[in-house]
Structures are given as C-alpha cells and as structure tokens.
C-alpha cells in the first residue's frame, strides 16, 4: 500500500540521487581544473609563458602558441562575422517562409553539427594540398578559413536568438515614423542587439580558441613566433609569401596535442601547464561573453543585475572598466542637472556616438515619447551602442549618483522600453506599459518632425552642434564632485598630475631594469651555482614577480599620498597610474627573462641570426639546445656539417683521376660485392634533381625546408642494397659514397641532423627502424628512406670507427647483431629481399652539374671490398 509517508520518502531519495548528479557535474569541473592546475604548478612560470619554443625546444615555452591562438581566434572571428550577421539578419528579418529559407536553416544546422574533424579533412585536402600555391600548405590562413567555417553557425545562431529578443514595438515605432526597413535594421535593431552580437562574437572567439582537430590538420606548427612581412617565394602563385598568413603557426591546442604525442620529450608538468594556460584563456573568454550576455538580459530587471553569478561578475567587470577607463566623453549626468539647452544637445549625442548620418528620424522617435522619456530613451540608446556600453556600466560606479529613486526610475524606464524580452503569449499589448503611450503634449512635436524632410537640414544640424560648441569651454562647477569633463585643459597642471602619479612607478621600474642589467654583467652573472634551466626560470619569474608586486604596492601608496587621485585632475592621475603600471610590468617581463642570468645553467644562449629561418635553425642546432634538455651526444661531433645550408665541400681533387672512369656502371646496373655467404647486390637505379626539400623535425614537430646555396641545387641518388647470401653483411657507410664531376667531388649532405635526437630517441629508433620519423621529400614520395640516415653517421652507437675499419666483425649469425657493445642495425643488412635497403643520398651540387649528369659519377667504396662507380647521366 502506498502511504503518503512512502511517497514522501521516495521523493527524498529521488532528490538526493538527483543532487548527486549535479554534484558529479560540478565536481568534475573542479576536478579537471584542479588536477590540471596542480599538475601545472612545477612548470608554470612567467618564463615559460613568455618564451617561445624556438629558444627552449618543443614544449618548453608557449609564447608562440599563445600568439598563434590569439591570431587564429581573432582572424577567424573577423572572417566569420560578416557572414554570420548577414545570414542572421536575413533569416530573421528578410526571409519569408519558403523552401530556400528552410534549406538555408537546415544547412546551418547541419554545419553546426558537423564534426570538426570533417571540416579539418576538407581543409587539409583543399586548402593545404590543392591550394598550396595560395595558402602555402599548412598555414595560418588555412586554419583561419576552416575555423571560420566552424564558428559561423555558432555566431549566427547566437545572433539570431539575440534578434528574437528585440521588442517588436521598437521596430514598429520606427516603421510608423516612416523609416525604411534598412534604416530600421541599421538604426534600431542592430544597436539594440549590439550586446547580443558582442556576446556571440566572444563565444565564437572562444569556440575558435578551443578547437584542436581542425588546427592539427590545417595549421601546422611552428616553434617560432609569428612575424609580419613579405618575402619573395616562387612556390607561391603570386610569387611572394605573406607572413604570418602563409606560415605554419602554432596554437595552444596543438601544443597540448604535441605534449600528448611526445610524452617522451615533453615533461608531464609542461603538458599540464600548456593545458592550464589554454583552459584559463578559454574560460576567461567564455565568462566574459556570458557576463555581457547576462548584463543585457538582466538590465531589464529593475533592481540590479547582481542576482546571478555572471551578473556579479559583470558588475565587477564594469567596475574594473570604470576604474581603468580613460574617456574624453562626458559622463551621463543626472536628470536634475540638465537644462533645456542641454537636452537638445543630448538628443544629438547618442547619434553622435553611434552613427554620423541619418539622425533625424531617430530623434523623432525620441521626441515622440514624453519629455521625461527623453532622458530614458537617450540613456538606453547610449547603453545599446558600443561606446555607450561602457558609459552605462560605469555610471553606477561613478561618484555623482543621482538620488537613488531617480536612478532606479531611469533604469526602469529605459529597461522597460528597450530591453523587455518578447513575451511568449499573445497578450502583448501596449496598455501594460503605459509609459510608451505618446502623451498628447508631444504629438505636436511629432507632427513638426514628420513635416520635416527626412534628412536633417544644415540648420538643424547647426543648431544641434552650436550649443555644444558653446558649452565646451564652460568651467566645471567646482563644488560638484563629479568626474572632470573632457574639455581642453592647461597642459601644465595635467602634466604635473600625470607625473605625480607616474614617478612613483618609474622608481620600481628602474630598479627592476637595474636588476635585469646586473644579471647580465660579470660579478652577478652566473653567480649562483649550477642549476637546471627550469629551476632558473622558476626563480626568475618568482623573483621578478615578488619585486614587481612590492614595487607596485609601494608605488600605489606613494602615488596616493602625493595626491594623484584627488582633485579635478584625477583623470590624468589615473592615466599616470596606468602608464606607470605598464612600464613596471614591462620591466618585470624584461627582468623575468634576464634573471635566469644569475644562474649558471651551463648552456650558452643560441646566437640567433635574424630573419633567415634556416640560419636560425642552424644556429639553434649548433648551440646544442635540445628540446629535452639533454646535451648533444658525443657522436654528433662526427657529423661533418651541422648547418643545413652547407656549400659543397670541394674535397680530394686528385682522387677523381685515380679511379678509371671507363669501368663505370650506368644507372640501373647492378654491382655485387661480398663473399660466399654474404652476396650483396648494390644498384643505383634513379636520380632526381630538386630545388629544395623538406624534412620532418621531430623535436619541433614540423617540416623544415632545406634550400641550397644560391646557384646550387640538390641531386638525389637512389640506390638499393640487397643481401642474397645467408648471413648479415656489412653495409658501406654513407661517407663512402662520393660524387665526382670534372675533378670536383661532393660528399653527401646529412639529410637530418643526428644531434637533434635525444639519447632516448636514438635508442628507440635503433630497434624500431620502421618508426623512424616521417622523413619526406614531398616531390618524391614516401616509401624511400634516407640512406645516409641508416648508414651514415653512426647515430646508434659509438662503435663506428672499429666497424668501419674491419670488414666483417661479429656478424656471423643472421639475426640482428647484439653481440658486443650495443646495436648496430644501421651497419648490417640481413639476408632476404624483404630486408633490402631502399634509400637515397642527397648531394648539393652546382646547377651546371645537375643539368648534365653525363660527366657525373658516384663512387662507392664497399669497405674492404673493391669499390665501383656509376655514371649518373
């Protein structure tokens, strides 16, 4: 039997369960943010945020990603906005119920539901591959276009719902006064939904900032900060390349993805720190958007907008803006202070704020309301326009409030007039809002205005402007504690106030700069004992943070004591404080990076050539700053050339003549070397001439373009080695492949730089050769591997010298040699055609050599076996 007690008990249990759901959701939010914050603490430092990866290595700095994310979000929002606004207005104000409209609506719904990966794939194929000549492949512009496609429906739907909240009476009033549809939309609808539009844009901005899969597929990644400029580049259709639009650009989500992909390179705390910065960035954007939204929604309510979380936030934002704002516009004054001439002046004002043209009809609306409404409509107009937006937020925080009742009534009036949400029912009649009824006293003025021409005559404009001109030099009422009005001021007093506020800040800023300077000169430079880079960075940011905060507090107190915030000139005082803040912060930034100099971290700063990226890369590689903080392996010293743009090395002239050319094999001819159990067939089977090529630099997760010195080009020789014997055979090292042409010899170019690999990577790739990072000469394809990489510079072990000198050491079995001091997979070729080495060598040769290969020979020394050569032409 169901008793009432049973039922109540059941309800309680159910409610308890339901509240558990809510607790789960909120708990997860805090768990995620808390977990990521805790994980991020070891790596979070100003140094980390303000350094880009080109300096410290992959995942060791995120300034490039932050700049990239801002660029992506900003540009894609800018690109999407016109489309979104146009579509929303069309659908809400122009479109009739027909098939086309339904179709467009359906398409927008489809677009908003499209998985971002689909947009990303589309962008990859069309923008990155097909339109490479325009976008430059993986690039900022490709990412921006895809993001814009993705966020257009977001912005569009948000604007649509904002337009839905516009009070129809407002527009009808406009139509009734003879305005055309475009005038109504332009002058009534858009200003009214301005805050809604702003919210939409901010939400779109946030959506673009958080998107990751699209950027992974279209934007590429770059460890360098974006730079602005134009370069000649024949790869492009127009012959030039625009930076940063055509550059691969980093972004925070991609940086997080990198951290996930390269957990062996990037410390976990760095991954958390990047994620934390991303979270903060996106949440700040979203909260701002929602605060503005709740502002526009709540402003309709009479009390205050502080009755929700976002309302409170938004009040706080308003206060902050109010305090920082430096305006040259008069603050709104209470009604009691206005005289008749002022009102006529003010009537002009909102239009001055929003639009410069076609003001007459909107004036007529204002006059159409009762005189007491002039103020109200004016206020609301200000409120609904962007500049006025700030004015109206700040007004509550402003000192000279009108009496509370007056303020409330004003608020109420305009909010009822303009921000009332559309009623859902049909009983939406005007008699609920008596104040919108036009009083008979003003009907005559309506008639007057309607009789006028729609455009304001010169005379009306002049009469509107003249009082204002007259008013400007009028002195302020000294007794009034109101904020100073913006009239022209004597510079001397202003300057003095400015300096009074500014100088206290200059002192700590100077101290900070001094400390930064001291960190760079001998007595203090490297004074503190050896420490890791991250520790030094942490110290630097903490140190500069403490000094900065202390300096700021001191300066604020001092500035206040000197009266910077008092009197009529307080505005200038605020300017001074703001400027002081800025210079202290700038000094702090400088110090935070310079203070690492106190520590002896053991690594020299990379000499950075400006402008030329390959030179930058070369400098970076040469300095040995590796991504994972490891030092270059000693084997790196074996590499003959470190810089990617080495000029061809004119080597051993005499050796060319010592080898008889007559015996040269031609391309596709096979040469066999080895002994009875190790029969190895070597074939040079193709050549290719390339003006440039790319390789995938694993530490920075991006392509690096290699370009030859002027007048040179790349000659690529393909060759295949195949062991048809029973036992593993020794493979010649890559420096035994020498190219000869007319007495000049060329050694092959190291295709990727071994010093870029950490020991971990070397160990890993030694046993997982198939996973050798994707090395790609785009024009050739993907199946070949760099022969030099496999055989060349002994990346895997230090036993190179001994192996090279002897022909046939411990490899008597058919397996991988694991005998002595390690693995030598690069030096042995196992029997069987599936183990064949199919690779290529890259030579940098003059253009003249590449043009005609008939005199070009590739000489190969097979260790102790007899050498041979191929003629390449």
């Amino acid at each position: 039997m169901i008793t009432i007690r049973n039922r109540v008990f059941k309800e309680r249990v159910a409610v308890a369960f339901c509240s558990l759901g809510a607790i789960f959701a909120v708990g997860m939010l805090f768990l995620i943010i808390g977990n990521i914050f805790l994980g991020a603490i070891p790596s979070l430092s100003l140094h980390f945020i303000l350094t880009d990866e080109s300096k410290n290595g992959l995942g060791q700095g995120i300034a490039n990603a932050i700049i990239g994310t801002i660029l992506f979000s900003l540009l894609s929002t800018i690109l999407a906005t016109p489309l979104a606004i146009g579509t929303a207005i069309y659908l809400k104000r122009y479109a009739r119920e027909n098939k086309l409209t339904h179709f467009i609506q359906f398409m927008i719904e489809v677009l908003s539901g499209t998985p971002s990966i689909v947009v990303g794939m589309f962008g990859l194929l069309v923008l990155v591959i097909y339109l490479q000549k325009f976008t430059g492949g993986f690039s900022l512009i490709a990412g921006v276009i895809c993001l814009a496609i993705l966020i257009t429906p977001v912005i569009e739907r948000s604007i649509e719902s904002a337009i839905e909240t516009v009070n129809p009476e407002l527009e009808e009033g406009s139509y009734a006064l003879g305005a055309t549809k475009w005038q109504t939309i332009h002058m009534v609808t858009i200003p009214t939904v301005m805050s809604g539009v702003l919210t939409s844009l901010i939400l779109g901005f946030g959506r673009a900032a958080e998107e990751s899969s699209v950027l992974v597929l279209t934007a590429g990644y770059s460890q360098w900060l974006s730079r602005v400029g134009i370069d000649n580049n024949n790869k492009f259709f127009f012959g030039f390349q625009l930076h940063p639009l055509n550059d691969p650009t980093a972004s925070l989500p991609y940086a997080v993805y990198n951290a996930y992909e390269n957990t062996n390179i990037i410390p976990m705390s760095n991954a958390y720190a990047i994620a934390f910065i991303l979270i903060i960035f996106v949440l700040l954007v979203n909260i701002t958007g929602k605060a503005i939204l709740s502002r526009s929604v709540n402003s309709g309510k009479s009390g205050s907008s502080a009755d929700s979380l976002f309302g409170k936030l938004n009040l706080a934002i308003g206060r902050v803006i109010g305090n920082l704002k430096i305006t040259t516009r008069a603050a709104p004054r209470p009604l009691a202070h206005y005289t008749g001439s002022d009102i006529s002046d003010l009537l002009e004002e909102p239009d001055r704020l929003s639009h410069q043209t076609g003001t007459s009809w909107i004036n007529s609306i204002k006059i159409a309301f009762s005189p007491s409404k002039n103020q109200a409509s004016m206020d609301s107009k200000i409120k609904k326009t962007i500049p006025g937006f700030f004015a109206s937020i700040t007004s509550p925080g402003k000192k000279p409030e009108p009496s509370p009742t007056e303020a409330v009534s004003l608020r109420e009036k305009f909010s009822r007039l303009f921000s009332r949400k559309k009623k859902t029912g049909v009983d939406n009649t005007t008699d609920q809002h008596p104040e919108t009824v036009i009083p008979s006293a003003t009907l005559s003025s309506i008639n007057e205005i309607l009789a006028e021409k729609p455009k304001p005559s010169l005379k009306t404009k002049l009469t509107a402007i003249l009082p204002r001109l007259k008013k400007k030099p009028a002195p302020e009422v000294t007794g009034d504690k109101k904020a100073a009005s913006p009239g022209p001021r004597l510079p001397k007093g202003a300057l003095r106030t400015f300096l009074r506020a500014f100088i206290p800040f200059a002192i700590p800023a100077a101290l900070l700069l001094l400390a930064a300077f001291l960190a760079g000169i001998p007595p203090l430079h490297n004074a503190l004992g050896p420490a890791s880079t991250s520790l030094a960075g942490l110290f630097a940011s903490a140190f500069s943070l403490v000094i900065t905060v202390a300096g700021l507090i001191f300066a604020l107190i001092f500035a206040k004591k000197r009266g910077a915030f008092k009197g009529n000139e307080r505005r200038k005082g605020f300017v001074g404080v703001a400027a002081g803040f800025c210079i202290v912060c700038i000094a702090a930034l400088i110090l935070s990076s310079a203070a690492t100099g106190f520590f002896n971290t053991g690594d020299a700063p990379a000499p950075r050539a400006s402008g030329d990226r390959s030179a930058q890369l070369a400098a970076m590689l040469a300095s040995g700053e590796l991504g994972d903080g490891s030092t270059p392996q000693p084997t790196a010293a074996i590499t003959p050339s470190l810089t990617p743009t080495t000029a061809p090395a004119p080597a051993a002239q005499g050796s060319a003549s010592s080898v008889p050319l007559k015996n040269a094999l031609s391309v596709r001819e096979m040469y066999t070397y080895g002994d009875a159990t190790r029969v190895v067939r070597a074939t040079v089977y193709n050549t290719e001439v390339l003006p440039f090529y790319f390789w995938w630099f694993i530490d920075y997760n991006r392509f690096v373009q290699e370009t030859p010195a002027p007048g040179n080009t790349y000659l690529i020789v393909f060759l295949r080695l195949e062991n048809t014997g029973q036992k593993s055979a020794v493979v010649p090292s890559a420096d035994q492949f020498i190219l000869y042409n007319n007495g000049n010899s060329y050694t092959h170019k190291d295709y990727i730089n071994m010093s870029a690999f950490s020991q971990y990577q070397i160990d890993f790739y030694a046993v997982n050769q198939n996973k050798i990072p994707y090395q790609w000469i785009r024009e050739i394809g993907q199946t070949k591997r760099d022969y030099a990489f496999i055989t060349g510079y002994n990346p895997f072990d230090q036993g190179f010298a001994t192996l090279n000198s002897t022909t046939d050491t411990a490899t008597t079995d058919t397996g991988t040699n694991t005998s002595s001091s390690g693995l030598y997979p690069g030096y042995f070729i196992k029997p069987g055609s599936s183990n064949a080495i199919d690779g290529y060598l890259i030579y940098e040769v003059p253009d003249s050599v590449a043009k005609d290969l008939r005199d070009t020979y590739l000489n190969v020394g097979f260790n102790s076996f007899s050498s041979t050569r191929w003629v390449l032409g």
Binding site: L20, F106, I117, T180, L283, V285, D307, L309
Partner: protein, 316 residues
Amino acid sequence: MVHDGGKTHQMITDKHDLPHLIFLCSAAVTGLIVILMFGFIFWTAIPVFCLEGPGFILNSVWDYSTDQYGIFLYIVGTLIVTVATLIIAIPLGIMTTIYLAEFAPPSLEKILRPLIELLVGIPSIIYGLFGFLFLRYVFRDTIDPVIGNWLGFIPIFRNLDPSGGINILLAAVILTIMVLPTIVALSQDAMKAVPKEYREGSLALGATRWETVTRVVIPAAWSGIVTSIVLAMMRAMGETMAVVMVAGNSAQSIPPTLLSPVYPMTAKMLNDVGTWAAVPMPRSALFGIAAVLFVIEILFVAVVRLVSNYARRSVR
C-alpha cells in the same frame, strides 16, 4: 497587431533594395559553403564507394597495402562508445536537470548552472589530456579491477587487460562529462518552459513534487529533452580529440568487453589522414569515413527537426 519582427513591413517596401540583396547573398554564401564542403567530401569518396560497394561499410579489413577498405569495425567502435556514453549521460543529465530545475534552491541553481555551463567551454583536448594523464590511472588501478571482480561474470564486464586503463569505459566517461552540460542546459530550458499551471494542477491533486516532475513536467518537456539528447549524441559521435587520446585506437576485432580498447571513426580519420591524404585511394577511403559520419549526422539533424516540429504541432 501582429508581431512578426517587421516582416509585414517588407510587403509594403521595396523587396529588392541593396541591403536585402547583401543579406540574401551572405545567407546564400553560408548555405553554399556547406553544400560545397559536403559535395567535395562525397566527390572525393566516390572512388572507394565504387571500389568496395557496400563492403565499405560491411567489411572489417582495412589494409592500405592490399587496397582493402572496410570500416565496419570503426562504425562499431563509434556506436559502442556513443551508446556507452548515452547510457551514463542520460540518467545523470536528467537527474541533474531535475534537481536544478525543480528542487534546487534558486540561489544554488544560479551558482550551479553557470558552473555546469562552463564545462562546455573546456576544450575537448583538455578532456583528452585529463583522461590520458590522470583518469587513465584511476581507471587502471581502481575502477577497472573493481568492475572486473564484481561484474566479471557478465561477459562484457570482463577485465581482459588489467594493465590497460585506456578503454571504452574511460572514453565513455570522458564523453559523458563533455555532453552533460549540453543535456542539462537544453533540458532545463525545456522543463522551465512547461507552464506553471501544469505543476500547480498536479500539486493541487495531491501529488508530491517528485510525482509532479516525473509524470507531468517531464512528459510535457519531452521534445526538448529528446532534442538535447540527440544533440549530445551528435557531439559524442563527432568528438575527435578527446576520443583519440582515451579510446585506445585498436581495431583488431569487435571489442569483446567494455574494458577493451576501441577505434572510433573520428580517431581513424585523424590518425591516418595526415599520412595518406596524398595517395588517391587511401584518401578516398578516409573521406568515405567522413561521408558516412556526415550522413549519420544529417539523419540526426533531421530527427531533431522532426521532433521539434512534432512538438510544435502537438502544442497547437
């Protein structure tokens, strides 16, 4: 007076003024972008449809070297993850909604709802990283063994790989957190839109608040709730980044248990498209996956529209 947002006025004035044209153009461009994009995706996918026929969906062998492309396992992966997500997310979401809409004190609701909405704003890659770096270990060390021990007698709850942690369940939990705010926000709006009189009538008849909610409010708001669930489902199906990081990306067979890895369609696309976009047939196959995903998505959009149309009609 008819409040139609000024559409009546349009009849009177010139229909073909310049602003009208501009707005029409921008709307048309938006529509065209969608058509172009999906036309292009289908166009690219045609070769693989010709090659495989229905086998593209029904075969489970995906091998680039032999030019065999069957996405059955990936479809199954997506479906399993989505269904598991919904099984967790629907009860949780509706419970949360009921609490927020009906039982929570207004002051608490005003704090909780924005907080839950903040979950929408957290980038999906953060969810993935959170799952990959943190929740994975929680699952591997605590939750998976517990489920394996207690529910292991049911085949789908066996814990076959105790060292894993990355599995369907983890993906489903991560996706649940992601779609929860979608369900909560939309269903709460739907429940708030139920007229007060319905509730009052039910309460006046002696029903408890719980009975009112379950028997009056939820049936009245069902279309909104269904819409929210379908939208959540779409988000779960289309999610890429988080899923790539926590689903395990392995498609040997149909996953035997909930605690085994899985390879959803989106993850397959993301992992492979960068390498294979330059080769015609694999590219076509990958775009074939996108086309299939897109068709499923269009179906869902159509469902949402049907549901809302039906609800609108039934209200009238």
